[in-house]
Subunit: 199 residues, 2 copies
């Protein structure tokens, strides 16, 4: 008898829970495509879901190359491998880039909430010199009156990934499921279908 398939978000929440004893379990990889057409790939930290949705939040520095990549091609694929439960999630979707110049007040508020949900130590990273640029030994950390109540720094950027396709693979059970979203008629609500596929 075929067993029922859980929604992918529930499978992901279960995996996060069962691997939470490992510090690196909140790290995933994000692939983007640059203006040269070549792929890029880097480790990032999961910052939770947008409230009451399946959209995934990521903090980043607006000076990194991934921002240029996402302006060129707004699609990305997260690959998240859980080393203890042997589960892989490949999450493909469109990325919304929210920096301080965003014209949408709601989105700016969302960026601010995400900023304050981040540890003070992590916020300090956005004071550092331009990531990926040559390291000048004489440069020092930007002096700034950053304190716990200071709002988002200019370099702070929130990424929100809106999943369209999720490929789930459990390497212990050899079960692999492809979840595909279909936008409903009003374009607001997503409807997911799922199918078992070969590992």
């Amino acid at each position: 008898m075929a067993t029922a398939i859980l929604p992918w978000k529930q499978l992901l929440l279960n995996a996060i829970e069962s691997n939470s004893h490992l510090k690196h379990s909140s790290f995933f990889l994000l692939a983007t495509v640059g203006s040269t057409g070549r792929p890029s790939n880097r480790t990032l930290v999961f910052r939770g879901f947008e409230e009451n949705s399946d959209k995934i939040l990521i903090n980043t520095d607006s000076r990194t190359r991934k921002i240029e990549d996402l302006k060129h091609c707004p699609f990305a694929e997260i690959c998240w491998y859980f080393t203890d439960s042997w589960e892989q999630f490949r999450i493909n979707g469109r990325v919304n880039v929210i920096d301080g110049s965003n014209p949408d007040t709601i989105k700016l508020q969302q960026r601010e909430r995400a900023w304050f949900a981040t540890s003070f130590k992590s916020r300090l990273q956005f004071l550092g010199p331009n990531p990926g640029r040559p390291c000048l030994t004489e440069q020092s950390l930007q002096e700034s009156p950053l304190d716990n109540s200071s709002g988002p720094l200019a370099a702070y950027c929130l990424l929100i990934i809106d999943p369209e396709k999720v490929d789930y693979y459990n390497l212990k059970s050899s079960q692999r499921i492809l979840f595909t979203s279909n936008q409903s008629v009003n374009g607001e609500e997503k409807c997911w279908s799922s199918e078992r596929i070969n590992p």
Copy 2:
């Protein structure tokens, strides 16, 4: 005083060694670009370096979508994060796809060597049904007289990545180094330059 920079291959060999107690330390992520222009990302297993070179070997199934991706765009980026030593390697380069139809005898021999260097259990995977296709409950494993001395199965494909750029980031020391290759005049020998960049 600035400390000397080790070549990236030596840094990678050191990271492999110092994380070798973790089973998942041989897993990395490979990003490619599909014909739609969207990125893809998946976990793969490091199969060593090509003899006397810095080219990286990967086993894959020729029926997977990454092969189509690589025909469309032959560039890929490996992102390899070592969870114990907190080191990240982003390795960008051109990928050579070697399946059984390759016209080059030397490459076919290389594919055969890589096949026999793979465990018998791993070789059996290439007898499975078409990866990523809908799972038909009635399908059974292809019956085959595969034994330990059987040569490469048709679905077995060797990927060889020729690195052109390596971005190394040590999250413990906050040291980040960009390695860039410059092909020498005869086009045969690679020459690497390195530069410290901001984390």
